[in-house]
Amino acid sequence: MDFLFFFLFAFIAVACAVSVVVQKHPIASALSLVGVMASIAVLYLQLGAEFLAMAQIIVYAGAVMVLFIFVIMLLNAGAESRSGRSYAAQLMGPPLLVALMASLGFAIMRGFPGGGTVKFDSFQGGTAQNIGYALFTDYLLPFEVTSVLILVAILGAIVLARKEMD
């Protein structure tokens, strides 16, 4: 049963990821991305990382994607227009992509020989309590410093969006 679900959602994730790239219309791409996020959340849940799964849904599939679609709607972006693509990129792109995937796949297979079986629900410590504890002890500094990062982003938005200079 677990395996069935795993393959189902893994397949949906990959299919949606491909769809993000090949869709012509930005809205369709964005909606495909929601599919990727949601199916990855299911995979997290299967492994036992409950908090991460929920955060994935709320933050990525929810907040981030809503903003994405909001911006696309605001900009009124239409279907993608094909600009003159370079011949070399068209010719070399697919083989290079396959080569990259193959080498990454090989690396991961080589790195974990015999680690092919996924133990579902074996991961302990994925609750909100565990994560909260880790965030405020071992990872206190990155947690706090990320707020500086967000502050910089807000300041940047203000700088770029202020009224015309006189």
């Binding site: 080498s103 690396a107 080589r110 990320t146 910089v152």
Partner: protein, 488 residues
């Protein structure tokens, strides 16, 4: 579960420089609406004060060397060296910016706040012992710099530079993150010392291609940030399009910080697989030097020429990394300091002559500068000679230590090709001297206003630094040597 959530006093002391900068940046944001109209220069003064306090804090932190915040942060001589370097670059950038912001009638509050935040990100980065902290520091520094690159929002070239830098920079960061994810997958940790220990005990072969691919992906991300070939294509456009003080800031502070963490990651965490990355760095070093120097030969725009020169200089520092020795690391540290000073000085002159809207940034615009403003011309001469690597300047000792380290590591060919490259570089730097001293003064120079106090300080301070590094390199070099072996 023990409930010790509060960080210890030692932790806070080791994080003090970043705290100072962050608090100062926030303070500037709060003061902005109150003083933006009345006294636009106030924000510059406050930033300089904050940088000075942060330098003191960095030295205080250096007095209590060690790990902090559950080993996420490391304060050692290496971290202190680069913290102080980026803070000094911050001070000179503020000095450069007074005149520029005044001329362009730009808002000063947000500009300086972004500058402070950017430098705090760089300080954090160079003191990181964990790839997560490296990432957060890198992002704070980068995002602030992306915005600074497009700060004059009504200027088309600014917009182009900011957008290019942002898109390509984010792409490069993704490579870096993918590398971090793979290394975490292989070793189960993101701490540099633990990665090193894991590779030592289990041997890199246990995860054979995975660690290699992780290192390669991180190499791509970092090589982009230091504008090393073949990931340098963005640099000329961005440096040319961004406001001149931001261009020089980008070419010095984020670059020095990225090199620092480049050195730290590859000589600590990936020390075991040095045989794999050394050839890559070798090729990248040679490509950067060659592409940078030969492309700079044909440029007519000063900023673009200095951008290509900055690519070439990244190549010289990569030579030091390729030599993979403590001497090489010390050479790179010394060179980055010398390079930052001479680049800041050279750009100060560009800002001085460029005029409103940066209309005068061609090489010919320097014509006859020596007749009208001999001191400015003389100082630019010092910076150019240092960029060439003439003795008695900091640039000479920088190159000398780097190529000596390369020879000690038996990289004879790289050293020879690097020296040949320096000879090529001499041509385009000397061309500026010819224009400045031999040509009749043009319109630009005839109508040039005298140096403002800020620009004068931004010219004299780097010049003093260059002579100090060129005449008495001992103190800085011995500090670099002491801290070049890292805490392993």
């Amino acid at each position: 579960m023990p409930a010790s959530f509060a960080p210890s006093a030692a932790d806070l002391l080791r994080y003090a420089p970043e705290t100072v900068l962050t608090v100062a940046g926030t303070l500037l944001m709060v003061l902005d609406p109150l003083f933006a109209k009345k006294s636009p220069k106030l924000f510059g003064h406050l930033s300089i004060a904050a940088f000075l306090v942060a330098i003191v804090a960095a030295f205080q932190a250096n007095g209590a060397q060690g790990l902090a915040f559950s080993n996420l942060l490391i304060v050692d001589g290496f971290a202190t060296y680069f913290r102080v370097l980026v803070l000094i670059i911050g001070i000179v950038t503020v000095l450069l910016s007074y005149r520029y912001l005044d001329r362009e009638q730009a808002e000063t509050g947000e500009y300086h706040a972004l500058l402070l935040f950017s430098v705090s990100g760089q300080c954090l980065m160079v003191a990181s012992n964990d790839l997560m902290m490296v990432f957060i520091g890198l992002e704070i520094s980068s995002i602030a710099t992306y915005i600074l690159a497009g700060y004059l929002r009504d200027d088309k070239r600014n917009n182009e530079a900011a957008l290019k830098y942002f898109l390509l920079g984010s792409f490069a960061t993704a490579f870096m993150l993918y590398g971090v994810a793979l290394i975490y997958g292989a070793t189960g940790t993101t701490k540099l010392d633990e990665i090193r220990a894991a590779l030592l005990t289990r041997g890199a072969d246990a995860w054979f291609p995975m660690v290699g691919i992780a290192a390669a992906l991180m190499f791509v991300g970092l090589a982009f940030k230091v504008s090393a070939a073949p990931f340098q294509v963005w640099a000329p456009d961005v440096y040319q399009g961004a406001p001149a003080p931001v261009s020089v800031f980008m070419a010095t502070a984020p670059k020095a910080a990225a090199f620092a963490i480049f050195l730290r990651i590859f000589t600590t965490a990936f020390n075991q697989i040095a045989g794999g990355w050394e050839p890559l760095v070798w090729i990248s070093a040679l490509l950067s030097m060659t592409i940078g120097n030969f492309a700079a030969l044909t440029q007519t725009n000063l900023k673009r020429m200095l951008a290509y020169s900055s690519i070439a200089h990244a190549g010289y520092v990569l030579v030091a990394l390729a030599s993979h020795s403590d001497d090489g690391t010390a050479g790179a540290m010394f060179y980055l300091a010398a390079y930052a000073l001479m680049n800041l000085g050279a750009f100060a002159v560009v800002i001085h002559i460029s005029g409103k809207g940066e209309k005068h940034v061609r090489i010919e615009d320097l014509a006859g500068l020596a007749r009208r403003q001999p001191v400015t011309a003389a100082l630019l001469t010092v910076f150019l000679l240092s960029l060439i690597g003439v003795p008695l300047t900091g640039g000479f000792f920088g190159k000398f230590y780097i190529f000596r380290a390369a020879l000690q590591s038996n990289l004879v060919w790289l050293a020879v090709l690097g020296l040949l490259n320096s000879a090529v570089a001499a041509y385009y730097y000397l061309r500026l001297l010819v224009v400045m001293y031999m040509h009749e003064p043009g319109d630009v120079v005839e109508n040039l206003e005298p140096l403002t106090p800020g620009l004068r300080a931004a010219l004299i301070l780097p010049a003093i630094g260059i002579f100090y590094l060129g005449v008495a390199p001992g103190a800085v070099l011995s500090f670099a040597k002491l801290s070049s072996s890292f805490v392993r």
